[in-house]
């Protein structure tokens, strides 16, 4: 019995020693490993990548200096493209007036026809004599025409004023209860012009009753009509040729970048709209980025990095925050003109833009934790707080407990929590499933 008991004691001791020796290893293998994160107080930072386009805040539109009525230009040659840098006097594009030959020929023919008719009138009425009464009629006739024109102008002015003042005219006159001085002045002008017209008509009628021959009447009116038409043809011809010559080559008014082009070779151009837009001389260059999708509040002076095509960065900062012409919120980031070439071609920067990274920094301090440590359940966000205890072998063992939290913000893998919330060590990045109450170990 003694031997058996002794053997039992020895076996028990050996078994216990083996368990004691391997228990640590087995426990290490069977216990979940986690990383331990400690919360920190600080400002939350985020690098926000945006696509920004190059813009020039000060530009000038290229339009025709003089455009006669009813003509259009044809673009014969376009020498620049969007983003080109031009010097003063460089030819931007070349034009010609559409159908200019036909138009000049027609005006020259009109002029010649009127000349011929005038000669014919002089021949036809070569024996005509202008008496004193004829001369008087011509004068009163001219005066009457002038008075008629003046009266018409006064009536137009009255109607415009009445419409602006919401006054309804009755038989071309203002109602009596109207007190507005402007309307009354317009009405007085109409009345004065009407009186003048009536006086001129009476004078013309008196002169006509004194006796005007049909020859004098016809010669005078027809001659005047011919001279007027000749004058019109002359002016139009001069205008056409002037415009044609002046717009044959359109040159850059000053050095700058071509910001926008609205024309193309072979297209028609009225000359009244901008053919192209050129930046100001030595322009301020800005990168403008739409921030409609950015949830952060970006403010002036936030540091930014403009990425070049090679991936290098040019440091800058936000110079303005506002809205573009479409009402979208935008930010402006200035860049030096000499740096543009390092980034990319101006055309590509205006068309495709480049990446600008804005370094957002929050205003207030918060408690920061790695986002990977934040867990989401049905009742909201929570973390597993690891309460550290030292086991009998001196090894650190953590016991997991659940702690609900409120997430204030999240950026670049960092989550911001209320600064008043005290959080102990937080377990995360576990190598297997963990739950509240479980013991975990920290990764070596």
């Amino acid at each position: 019995m003694k031997r058996k008991a002794l053997r039992g004691i020895v076996i028990l001791l050996i078994a216990l020693l083996i368990c004691f020796f391997f228990s640590g290893t087995i426990k290490t293998m069977t216990t979940a490993k986690v990383k331990i994160a400690y919360s920190d107080e600080g400002l939350i930072k985020e690098q926000i990548p945006l696509n920004a386009y190059l813009v020039f805040p000060e530009t000038e539109e290229i339009v025709a200096d003089y455009v006669p009525d009813g003509i259009a230009f044809t673009i014969t040659k376009l020498n620049v493209h969007r983003g080109s840098f031009v010097h003063t006097g460089d030819i931007l594009f070349e034009t010609e007036i559409s159908g200019i030959k036909e138009m000049t020929t027609a005006q020259e023919k009109e002029y010649a026809d009127m000349e011929r008719e005038l000669l014919e009138l002089k021949r036809q009425y070569s024996g005509i004599l202008f008496s004193n009464s004829d001369q008087r009629w011509i004068e009163t006739y001219d005066t009457y025409l002038t008075a008629l024109l003046k009266k018409h102008q006064a009536e137009v002015a009255l109607e415009v004023v009445a419409r602006l003042k919401h006054v309804i005219l009755s038989d071309g006159r203002i109602p009596e209860n109207i007190t507005d001085e402007t309307v009354h002045e317009a009405q007085n002008a109409v009345d004065a012009a009407a009186t003048e017209e009536e006086t001129a008509k009476k004078a013309m009628d008196r002169a006509f009753r004194a006796g005007v021959s049909d020859d004098v009447y016809n010669y005078t009116l027809r001659t005047r009509m011919c001279l007027e038409k000749m004058e019109q043809a002359h002016v139009l011809l001069v205008n056409l040729l002037t415009a044609s010559e002046s717009m044959k080559t359109v040159r850059a008014p000053h050095a700058g970048y071509i910001v926008d082009i609205n024309i193309a070779a072979g297209e028609q151009w009225t000359g009244l709209t901008a053919a192209m837009t050129i930046s100001s001389e030595n322009p301020d260059c800005l990168f403008r980025a739409d921030i409609s999708d950015v949830s952060r509040t970006l403010s002036i002076n936030l540091k930014s990095v403009i990425r070049t095509f090679s991936g290098a960065g040019i440091n800058s900062s936000i110079s303005a925050v506002g809205y573009d012409s479409l009402g979208n919120p935008v930010i402006d980031i200035p860049v030096l003109q000499e740096d543009l070439k390092r980034i990319n071609t101006v055309n590509r920067l205006m068309r495709d833009g480049t990446t600008v990274e804005v370094n957002y920094i929050s205003d207030t301090e918060t408690r920061l934790l790695p986002s990977a440590a934040i867990r989401w359940g049905e009742s909201g966000a929570y973390v597993y707080v690891a309460e550290e205890t030292t086991d009998i072998f001196g090894a650190s063992v953590y016991k997991i407990s659940k702690m609900p939290i409120t997430v204030l913000d999240e950026a670049d893998g960092v989550t911001a929590l209320s600064i008043d919330l005290y959080i102990g060590p937080v377990a995360y990045m576990e190598d297997r499933y963990i739950a509240e109450g479980m013991e975990v170990m920290e990764y070596d």
């Binding site: 019995m1 008991a5 039992g8 004691i9 028990l12 216990l16 368990c19 004691f20 086991d391 009998i392």
Partner: protein, 281 residues
Amino acid sequence: MKKRNYPVLLLLWITAVLIVLPVIMTFLYSFFSPEEIRVFLASRDRYDERLMEIKLIPRMISLDQYWAVLIEDTRVLRYYFNSIIYTLSILAGQALIVPALAYSLSRFRFLGRDIISFLVIILVILPFQVTMVPSALMLRNLELTDTMWAVILPALASPFYVFLLRQNMISIPNELFEAAQIDRAGPVRCFFHIAIPASRAILGAAAALSFADCWNMVEQPLIYIPGKESLHPLSVVFNQLSGESTGIEFAGAALFLLPALLVYLFFQTDILTGIRISDLK
């Protein structure tokens, strides 16, 4: 042929079963799964609803409790080794001190011997609680509190075992020692070649009883090592383990019982002989 007294025999059997039943149930329950044990223990306080259930067979034999005690939660194992360290240290110390002290008090005549013997008897009579305070103060002055020595040192010269051995050595016939002295044996040789062999049975009994004392001690660690729980033996921690059922108490208890059982089996003959010799029965 001797006539058997059946009523007494029956009574003895019943008593034996009642004594052994907790031990058997401890071993049985150690093979229950922790979950089953927890459910079973949770039903213990509802005796007003039904009769007390005695469950002896698990739904499925499980070694989960042993796995938890020996592998997963090594605290039990550590405390277990603390118990072993305390027990072996105290037994080793007592093996050096107690027989020698008993030998000197029984075989030599010197001034104050009887007073010392009287004090030993007094210390045997005095309960532990009486000597606890001066012991604790002394250990504190020696800056031994919260060390293993605080438990080991006071137990080395246990008065009960000194008294037990002294009484036994007194009864060793003087002729044996005189014969040895004639053969030029000195006191040390007499001690090792006569006193110890003659007291082997009582030494075995003392060792077994001392083992039980050390293995089961509770007050000493609690008082002398109050600030260092990691140095407590399993006997102290057991109360904490079973305070809130974790389902592993029975495996811990079974492991705790096993050494005591084996030691008893080892010293069984000596204990019985020793008790018979020393008239302790």
